[in-house]
């Protein structure tokens, strides 16, 4: 059998499973919804200024949406950057690139395997955060029908489908963050620089959006795509922010992947 992208992908996952760093992010992804729901069960207050914040005591299915709103801007990009920023740079740190690149794998296959692993990790973090929020939320506030952003009510079953779809839509900008992280990991060859660099990139994009005179840029900013999922929670469903997010994110993803790929292909492996 010839080794390929999938071989690298499988072993990248195997390595992630053995690294402490992986669990740091995953524990945060589980801990935040747990802490939030537990706090909520003791208090009658509610986060009114957040979409669905007003309904956290009526429907447990409002809780994952409140958490998604909260975590989408910083926590999830952070968790993503933590692993994506490390995935190539750690090879530089351990000096193992020379080991891997003298087997029967092309450099491009190694890079793509790492990209897939970073994307998979992102899904895992999101599944944990969403899963814990849905289960814990339903236990605290009940598996009830939900009031949408348009004011209409959907059944609990429908609401669950919408919640799952919302997390799915949020994957689009989050994967973009992951791809930027892998690119910076490749270019900087330094894990800390890549993790911080990814977050700074996200924050700078956010900053551009509030600069006077640059308002016209807003629809094209990555950070503005973080809440595209809210289109799903209107009745009827508003697909326009979602399709918009898809192509805007593609504008970020394609150059990031191509740049990282080319740098990885052309670089000298002189260390280690």
């Amino acid at each position: 059998m010839k080794p390929g992208v999938l071989t690298v992908y499988r072993w990248e996952l195997r390595k992630l499973i053995s690294l402490k760093r992986t669990y740091l992010g995953l524990f945060a992804a589980m801990g935040v919804p747990l802490a939030f729901t537990i706090t909520l069960s003791f208090r009658h207050g509610r986060p009114n200024d957040v979409p669905f914040g007003a309904y956290v005591h009526q429907s447990g299915l409002a809780i994952p949406l409140v958490l998604l709103t909260f975590a989408s801007a910083f926590l999830l990009p952070l968790i993503t950057a933590l692993v994506a920023g490390d995935i190539v740079a750690s090879e530089d740190q351990y000096g193992t690139l020379k080991t891997v690149l003298t087997r029967s794998l092309q450099r491009g296959q190694v890079y793509m395997g790492k990209v897939l692993a970073a994307l998979t990790y992102t899904v895992a973090a999101l599944v944990l955060l969403g899963g814990v929020a849905i289960v814990a939320g339903s236990m605290v506030s009940g598996f009830n029908s939900l009031t949408t952003l348009s004011g209409s009510t959907v059944s609990a079953g429908q609401a669950l489908a919408l919640v799952l779809a919302s997390f799915g839509v949020y994957l689009i900008p989050l994967w973009t963050v992951a791809l930027i992280g892998v690119m910076l990991s490749t270019i900087t060859r330094n894990s800390a620089a890549a993790v911080v660099g990814t977050l700074v990139t996200v924050l700078l994009i956010e900053l551009v959006g509030i600069l006077p005179g640059l308002e016209w840029l807003q629809p094209y900013l990555l950070t503005r795509q973080f809440d595209a999922w809210q289109g799903l929670l209107r009745q009827p469903i508003d697909w326009s922010p979602i399709t918009h997010a898809a192509w805007v994110c593609a504008l970020y993803c394609v150059p990031a992947v191509v740049a990282g790929y080319l740098v990885f292909l052309r670089r000298d492996v002189a260390g280690g």
């Binding site: 059998m1 080794p3 020379k98 087997r103 092309q106 002189a270």
Partner: protein
């Protein structure tokens, strides 16, 4: 397959102002155990990195069995294995897991060779320990084991015995010897003349990025051991005999001994002539230090271009041509 295992032509690698490798030409033939000898910073590792496709040459080309690692990447490493500098593995995984990963990356049935390779380097008992806890020597052996997974026809090794204890060095050399006897072509870098002498039949001596000698190690030795030391009952008379003797050159007195340059047959004749002149020989020995001297002369002169290069001139390539 009839292609040459290694063929480097005009290989250059520049790091900013530093020319790490400067027009290196190297040919390693099938079945060679080829020594790549040079002092620290001579460019051995850099040359091997280019051969393995890890860094891109500034100029020139390398072919491994006719394939170019610069353009073909890993496809050119078919049948090739080795490592540069200290072998590196994932410290948080066990040696066995590391080996299984490398085998998966090699493809085919490499996975089925993991246990045998661990056994060859005597790491089976420690295979489930994390590589992070391994000693330098154990990592070095694991590097060899990982290379063997590929069942290579060409093995590229960068100072494999460096940092090993005497026993470890002996075992490493014995292993390389065994692999070479099994038909493997080996290119071995080293800065130890003795190691290369023991293992290799051909050698390239590199200095400041340039090759200052390439050829059979026997030829190098032949030119190097022309020096002899002679002690007789009367050294002054001996010098006169030496000067009269054909094939004996530059006889000189040096600290109670006569030093002279001559080939072996001439020395044999000289011994007869000395005795016939009524001199009693107490010592007539080849100057064993001269191979070392030669190495130092080749690698420590002021600039490579000025280094005096021994015969046979036909074998001398690179910057001195």
């Amino acid at each position: 397959m009839t292609e040459t295992p290694v063929e480097a032509r005009g290989l250059v690698k520049q790091y900013g102002r530093i020319t790490a490798v400067d027009h290196v030409d190297l040919t390693v033939n099938r079945g060679d155990v080829y020594g790549f000898l040079g002092p620290n910073g001579a460019g051995k590792t850099t040359t091997l990195r280019m051969m393995l496709g890890l860094i891109y040459p500034t100029a020139g080309s390398v072919r491994l069995f006719g394939r170019d690692p610069t353009t073909e990447g890993a496809a050119a490493l078919n049948g090739v294995a080795g490592f540069v500098e200290a072998p590196r593995f994932y410290p948080y995984l066990s040696a066995r897991t590391n080996m299984q990963m490398m085998a998966a990356f090699d493809g085919d049935d490499a996975v089925s060779r993991v246990e045998a390779a661990l056994d060859t380097v005597e790491l089976t008992a420690r295979a489930d320990d994390k590589v992070g806890g391994y000693s330098h020597g154990m990592r070095q052996r694991l590097g060899i084991a990982a290379a063997l997974l590929r069942e290579p026809r060409l093995l590229l090794l960068d100072e494999p015995a460096t940092g090993l204890d005497p026993g470890g060095m002996r075992d490493m050399r014995a292993l390389i010897r065994r692999l070479a006897d099994g038909g493997m072509t080996v290119l071995l870098s080293s800065h130890l003349l003795a190691e290369v002498e023991e293992l290799c039949d051909r050698v390239a001596i590199v200095r400041a990025g340039r090759i200052v000698y390439e050829g059979a190690i026997a030829d190098l030795k032949a030119t190097a051991t022309t020096g002899y030391r002679l002690r007789t009952s009367d050294n002054t008379a001996a010098i006169a005999v030496c000067e009269a003797q054909a094939g004996v050159a530059s006889a000189r007195l040096d600290g109670g001994e006569v030093h002279l340059d001559a080939a072996e047959p001439a020395v044999a004749e000289l011994s007869v002539a000395l005795v016939e002149s009524g001199l009693r020989i107490t010592a007539l020995v080849p100057d064993s230090a001269t191979l070392e001297d030669l190495f130092f002369r080749l690698t420590e002169g002021s600039t490579p271009g000025e280094t005096e290069v021994p015969e046979p001139a036909a074998d001398v390539v690179g910057g001195v041509a």
